[in-house]
Amino acid sequence: MNSSGHVIGSSSHNFGLGGQCKAHAAFWPSVGGTPVPLPPDDRETSGYAIAAPFTNGELHAVGVDWEQNVAMLWRRVDTSSLWEPPILSDVNVGGNIILCGQEGWERLYRAYDINDHGWIVGAGQLDADGFFAHRGFVMIPSTYCTADLNGDFIVDVLDLLILLSAWGLYTTTHCFGSPDINNSDVVDVQDLLILLGAWGPCPGMGIEVMTLNEQLTAAGLTGQQWNDYQSIMTGSSSQATKDNWTCWIMNYLMQCKNCPLCPGRDPFAN
């Protein structure tokens, strides 16, 4: 049941499907209400969880089609529409989802839960170089703000610090939380620019967030100093220089000006 009182589950209620009476995923608009069968009408299915991942009244429900042995995702656009046919039965249908952790998913067996951001957890089969292994998965809508590295639904200084602390790191992990936001295998200025461009609350989140300028002011930095930092990072300075600037800007953003952590002089000192 979600926070609006919508219920998802299974019913052996005869939905008037030619006398058929089998376990079937069903939606209850309210506790004690009349169940509505989820399509396809004549399949043996179960619903496990329901959520409203957007602010437009859209409902998403997840579960399983026992006959096909695959995970399901049902969607209802608004209260006046019917539940649409399930769309999770093919991995990454339409490219609208991201499977975390590893590539090579062969089949998703179960979708166990979904949260109000549309994230789905489940189990599937992974083809790891010809060896099939059962693994859990997390599926995240690709519309989700990928610059939210710490998962608090805000792109802010905390995400910036995660990115800066991984500066120059080579990684092939392309998933939620990876500071390699643009999947280039290296954490670099391109990722920084994406993060800065996404600054603020994630879409659909009505959260107040300090602007970057407010954050800089709180850290004792000026806009010019921030621009200088970006110029250094995108310019031809040595790696040691870039590392020192990054170290110091992290200290400032963490409001820890006197922490003796950085190898060189403070480039922001007056």
Partner: protein, 186 residues
């Protein structure tokens, strides 16, 4: 040389005390076996337990757990069999080939006189389609267990095909098996 097209169609199963050839192509299996019996499970209400309904007509008895299932998943005729947690049946007279069309995934265990003689590969059907899975054994079996090894608890299949070599055809199958062995060594 005429055996080569046949040989290229087969896959030897993963475990066996019987030598069994696995087929995922219906036409190839049908061509290889020639004659066979079919149960399509139509004519029963949805959810009816299947036990001895095919005993007289086909010489096969199902253990408790199998029931008819009406669903668009069964693209042949909309009616098939649902086994929970599996489907287990026995033949009055031993068989040598068997096949089903299934949804999801499926594994065959073949038994003879109570002894497991073969466990097949687990086969998967494309989503929202039925797939064919057939076996031809060089030794007889009299019991079959159909189940899902991965995320099991239920199994769904539709038309069930089975049979034995016609008298006189045994030599052909023996020759085919001989050809398979020679090719594997080469």
């Amino acid at each position: 040389m005429r055996l080569i097209p046949f040989i290229t169609m087969y896959v030897l199963g993963p475990s066996a005390s019987a030598s069994v050839v696995e087929y995922t192509d219906k036409t190839s299996w049908h061509s290889a076996v020639g004659t066979y019996s079919t149960i399509d499970f139509t004519g029963h209400p949805n959810g009816m337990p299947i036990t001895t309904q095919y005993s007289e007509s086909h010489g096969i008895t199902f253990a408790p757990g199998s029931q008819t299932h009406h669903s668009s998943s069964f693209t042949n005729d909309g009616q098939g069999l649902r086994g929970q947690p599996s489907s287990h049946f026995a033949f009055y007279t031993p068989m040598q080939w068997i096949a089903v069309e299934f949804t999801g995934n499926i594994v065959f265990d073949l038994y003879f006189k109570g002894e497991l003689i073969y466990t097949s590969t687990e086969r998967w059907a494309p989503i929202n389609q039925v797939a064919f899975f057939g076996l031809i054994s060089n030794t007889p079996f009299d019991e079959v267990h159909l189940y899902r090894a991965t995320f099991g608890g239920l199994v769904f299949y539709d038309d069930l095909y089975f049979g034995v070599p016609a008298p006189g055809a045994l030599g052909v199958f023996a020759l085919a098996a001989f050809g398979c062995r020679r090719r594997r060594r080469s």
